[in-house]
């Protein structure tokens, strides 16, 4: 299977589910927190990505329940999903480290709060 780079919403959804099984609305909230409010998933995008991740075997349905007469489904990472998230995190870390090193060499590096 080819390792197609994960797009940001997919990466953040997998990251949210790495904490444990969550339902759709909780994923939206968690993604917002993880991204410090920068990424706000709408329901259309959320379910399109969840559908694709399920299709690729990276997540699975853990359980279903009915709350206030509405279906609530909990999703969790599959083993393949955990592995994929680890690979993707390592890849992004490598890129970020390379960028920091080069900025450091050019005297442009700054960490959190360095500009304050």
């Amino acid at each position: 299977m080819s390792e197609v780079t994960l797009r940001e919403p997919a990466f953040l959804i997998l990251t949210a589910l790495a904490r444990g099984p969550q339902h759709g609305y909780a994923v939206i909230e968690d993604v917002r927190q993880i991204s410090a409010g920068e990424v706000r998933l709408h329901a259309g995008t959320l379910y399109a990505v969840l559908d694709r991740l399920r299709g690729d075997g990276l997540i699975e349905v853990e359980r279903e329940e009915v709350v206030n007469s509405r279906l609530r489904r909990y999703y969790r990472l599959s083993a393949a999903g955990r592995q994929r998230l680890a690979v993707e995190s390592a890849r992004l870390r490598r890129h970020a480290d390379a960028a920091s090193q080069r900025l450091g060499r050019a005297g442009l590096a700054f960490g959190y709060g360095a500009d304050q």
């Binding site: 197609v4 759709g24 709408h42 259309g44 379910y47 559908d51 694709r52 299709g55 690729d56 279906l71």
Partner: protein, 349 residues
């Protein structure tokens, strides 16, 4: 919670394919209503846009959806770019030719007005494909199909047979639809290959007709206040050449550049590109035969098999059959390779 708001959301969810609604509709409605809280009365603009956009993407993806593996999407993405460049080269050629004749004669021998919409649409689709904006590319392709269909019907309402450009536009849009949501071709192929494909498009669309206007002889039919009439021909030692060697050389050079661009791809991707290209080539071959315009080396083929209405099912059935066979061959080949690479350990069944 408002019943009116729920109805609004239900109407928006109705845009999704039925199977998708069955799987996620109720859950989506729950999330949308939960997210809305108690005070919201109507869906927000961004929310409406997001729901409609994803519904359209899913509908355009049709039955393929997640059944299409990333490798097939990559192959469709690559072939989609090749097809779009071919589509773009078609309206660019007469424009380049017009420029060439203008530079040579000092007057424009014909008008280009009717080709502008075609050129503008394919240019926009090419930009969308290179940028990876799939939905825009597919919608642009659909618009091009519409333009081709209208121009075909306008030219000859009696002959509803699909012309070259319409078939090419249909096939291109189908490929773009298959690649929907996948990686853009530049991410799959790399910069070198995309540059080679771009060179092929410029060579066949711009350079070849420009050079042709320098090489060819002309018979000036008239030169009056309403314009210039001319009949260009290739000189072959004092006579008119019966074989278009220049056209064949252009075709060969373009094909070589395209092949060079695809040689760097991995074997599994290459196999899928070939499998997708085969029905495309069969379709174009059939169109040539039906339209009686398969001119190669100055000869026109008009086979007796393809007469009457027999060609209509053939246009659908034969490419579909070829594609099915190609997919089966790809799967068989890969099963064979997997079995060779990973034989069962001794002692295990």
């Amino acid at each position: 919670m408002s019943a009116g708001l729920e109805r609004h959301y239900q109407r928006l969810i109705a845009w999704y394919p039925a199977a998708y609604r069955r799987e996620y509709g109720e859950e989506m409605l729950g999330v949308l209503m939960h997210n809305a809280g108690d005070r919201k009365r109507r869906p927000g603009l961004a929310e409406v846009a997001d729901l409609i956009r994803t519904a359209l993407v899913l509908r355009l993806r049709g039955g393929s959806g997640r059944l299409v593996s990333p490798l097939w999407r990559d192959a469709a993405s690559v072939l989609g770019l090749v097809a779009v460049l071919l589509d773009l080269a078609r309206p660019v050629r007469p424009l380049a030719s017009l420029l060439g004749w203008y530079l040579r004669l000092g007057v424009a021998p014909w008008s280009f007005a009717s080709d502008w919409p075609r050129l503008a649409v394919w240019l926009a689709v090419a930009v969308a494909v290179l940028g990876g904006w799939w939905l825009a590319a597919v919608l642009g392709g659909a618009l091009a199909v519409l333009i081709e269909a209208v121009s075909l019907v306008r030219a000859d309402p009696a002959a509803a047979a699909p012309g070259w450009s319409l078939l090419l536009a249909l096939a291109t849009t189908a490929l773009l639809g298959l690649g929907l949501g996948g990686r853009p071709a530049r991410a799959v192929l790399g910069r070198r290959s995309v540059l080679l494909l771009g060179t092929a498009a410029v060579a066949t669309g711009v350079l070849a007709p420009l050079v042709q206007t320098r090489l060819w002889q002309i018979v000036l039919l008239y030169d009056g206040p309403t314009g210039v009439g001319l009949a260009p021909y290739m000189d072959a030692g004092g006579g008119i050449a019966t074989i278009d060697w220049y056209g064949i050389a252009t075709f060969a050079a373009t094909a070589l550049l395209v092949l060079a661009a695809l040689t760097g791809t991995a074997a599994p991707l290459r196999r899928r590109i070939v499998a997708l290209a085969l029905p495309f080539l069969v379709l174009l071959g059939l169109a040539c035969l039906r339209l009686g315009t398969l001119t190669f080396g100055g000869l026109t083929f008009a086979p007796p098999l393809l007469v009457g209405s027999a060609w209509v099912p053939l246009l659908v059935l034969l490419p579909a059959l070829v594609f099915t066979l190609a997919v089966l061959l790809v799967r068989r080949r890969e099963r064979h390779l997997t079995a060779r690479v990973a034989p069962a350990p001794p002692g295990l069944p």
